[in-house]
């Protein structure tokens, strides 16, 4: 996981590396991990901040992959490194802007918020602080839109919110999105990313896997199309449920996709794993992904798939 984290740091909001370190939820990037980083949260962020100040001018960022330093705006709306084509993570609003036709997205259930089924100490506070930081209520947004003129339901997860772990809100919003799509005979596209189940909700979070799966099954039985787009990182209980249930499963290049966390596997087998293990390309080779699609091509690829399934030509 560490290796991976160094390579793929969230760019949601202003935080960059600061955001991923020293926060208990960074541990959630691998839900099935038995042991996570033992680094103390407190001293880490200021140190990193200092390092950054020395070498990276304000308003600029340093690519964690190729080390190039450039102004943030050079990433463009797709957030791709201009030097090495590394993909930064998109937040869900950026993703919706990228996929849905301009002005077409109507959000569902925008006010839904988590409760605290285990009475886990500090959970409400954690949620509240993330809500303030991200402007989101929880880790997924769902809604209706058109894509290249074709009507569809869209769900997008956001790794900036507790590593998009799946609790009641993620499960409920996605279930409702599938139910809406079934009722209105619409295709559905879900952009997945997740650290897996949300520990703080315990067994209730595990039950979300079954709940969403049942709604996917109904949508599927109605003969409707479900496209999954796996984005970095998709792991744990989300991989073991709706991420792998699409009729067509697309992925962004190099996205980390797996069931178990890398560290858990390394501890189990007592050896280091190669870098490309659990990358999208690894899944493609083993037959678990239909197609790896570059970020800039995603809207068109999805539109083309919708076109084949809708039997009518959309307004492009």
């Amino acid at each position: 996981m560490d290796l991976f984290k160094k390579k793929y740091v969230s760019l949601n909001g202003e935080g960059e590396q600061k955001k991923d370190s020293g926060n208990i939820f960074s541990g959630l990037s691998s839900v099935f991990a038995k042991k996570e980083s033992t680094e103390k949260p407190a001293p880490q962020p200021p140190k990193k901040e200092k390092e950054r100040d020395e070498e990276v001018p304000a308003g600029s960022i340093k690519c964690p992959d190729c080390g190039s330093i450039y102004e943030k705006k050079e990433l463009g709306s797709l957030k791709i490194c201009p030097k090495c084509a590394r993909y930064y993570r998109l937040n869900c609003k950026e993703r919706v802007r990228m996929i849905a036709d301009k002005g077409s997205f109507k959000e569902f259930d925008s006010q839904m918020e988590a409760k605290n089924p285990l009475n886990y100490p500090g959970y409400e506070e954690k949620i509240a602080s993330l809500q303030e930081k991200t402007g989101l209520k929880d880790a997924v947004i769902t809604g209706e839109c058109t894509i290249g003129g074709f009507p569809a339901v869209l769900g997008v997860m956001d790794s900036g919110f507790m590593m998009a772990s799946m609790g009641s809100v993620v499960g409920e919003k996605l279930t409702r999105a599938f139910e809406y799509a079934t009722q209105h005979r619409l295709p559905i596209i879900v952009f997945t990313c997740s650290g897996g189940a949300r520990m703080q909700e315990g067994i209730v979070s595990l039950m979300q896997m079954a709940k969403v799966s049942a709604a996917v099954a109904k949508h599927s039985e109605a003969g409707l199309l479900y496209i999954t787009v796996l984005t970095d990182p998709t792991t744990g209980g989300v991989t073991a449920s709706f991420a792998m249930q699409g009729d067509i499963i697309l992925s962004e290049p190099k996205a980390l996709i797996g069931f178990a966390g890398r560290r858990v596997i390394e501890q189990t087998i007592k050896q280091k794993l190669p870098d490309e293990f659990q990358h999208a390309e690894f899944l493609l080779e083993h037959g678990f992904v239909d197609k790896i699609v570059d970020r800039e091509a995603l809207p068109y690829t999805i539109r083309d798939i919708l076109k084949i399934h809708c039997g009518k030509v959309g307004e492009v």
């Binding site: 099935f32 809100v169 293990f277």
Partner: protein
């Protein structure tokens, strides 16, 4: 009330009766069937056909060993993807022949390893959930020891979920939970108390329908007592589920899982 972590210890006892112990005690004429037809016969999952009284049924279990040799053979009850695919094959076979399905669950979780990832552990569990959601025969699962996360849920998407009194069912082991959230696996006992993993807690949450009693100290102390009790309850419940019209059965299954979630809006 016994602390939750004491139940975890009982649930993990090597002497605890296994899936095959229950299968052999409760059913008659068990014929074991092997393999997923794709890759391998995963011995962490056993299954086959048998009679419950005079009703033909399909029975499946996640199998742990009682000694090192057995445990190596069945990978300590941690299935690979082909184990879940074998289970699904047998469930689809049950559907074809209209047989109810009874699943015995006892796993710390789905196996985490290179082969498991290469062969799609996530996909295998996801496929089971998708197919079980609409499988057209009654299904009951019984958690007889550990019910570890997605690896247990992959056999527990059933019309009824029951637990033995000293079994546990959780999103992650208490050790894993404590180490992720508190960076300290030694706080497992504290985690266990918080997580609501006991049969009693889960009955209250509506995650399960029934708790099956065990002898004091655990069912290994009087296996016949628990097994007979369970047999009696299955003999009542399976025919009752078979009476239900298919639509009703499937709608109830959908609603059974649909209800989980705590949120405001």
């Amino acid at each position: 009330m016994m602390p939750a972590y004491d139940k975890v210890k009982i649930a993990r006892k090597v002497s605890r009766p296994t899936a095959l112990d229950y299968i052999e005690h409760i059913f008659e004429g068990f014929i074991e069937l092997h393999g997923d037809r794709g890759y391998h016969d995963d011995k962490a999952v056993v299954g086959g056909i048998a009679f419950l009284g005079d009703i033909p049924v399909t029975v499946i279990g996640i199998q742990k060993g009682k000694n090192m040799e057995e445990n190596i053979a069945c990978n300590f009850g941690q299935p690979h993807p082909e184990g879940y695919r074998k289970a699904l094959r047998l469930m689809k076979q049950a559907e074809k022949f209209g047989r109810p399905v009874i699943n015995f669950i006892n796993t710390s979780g789905a196996y985490c390893g290179i082969g498991a990832e290469e062969r799609g552990q996530g996909e295998a569990i996801a496929r089971n959930l998708l197919e079980m959601a609409t499988l057209k025969v009654p299904m009951i699962s019984v958690i007889i020891g550990e019910g570890g996360s997605g690896g247990a849920l992959a056999l527990a998407f059933t019309d009824r979920v029951w637990m033995l009194e000293n079994s546990v069912y959780c999103v992650l082991s208490p050790e894993g939970f404590a180490s992720i959230l508190w960076k300290d696996a030694k706080r497992a006992a504290e985690a266990a108390d918080l997580m609501k993993i006991t049969a009693e807690d889960l009955l209250e949450l509506g995650v399960i329908e029934k708790v099956i009693k065990e002898a004091s100290g655990g069912c290994q102390n009087d296996f016949g007592f628990t097994a007979n009790l369970l047999k009696g309850k299955l003999e009542l419940e399976i025919p009752a589920l078979m009476q239900k019209p298919l639509d009703e059965l499937l709608n109830e299954r959908y609603e059974r899982f649909r209800k989980f979630g705590e949120f405001t809006e």
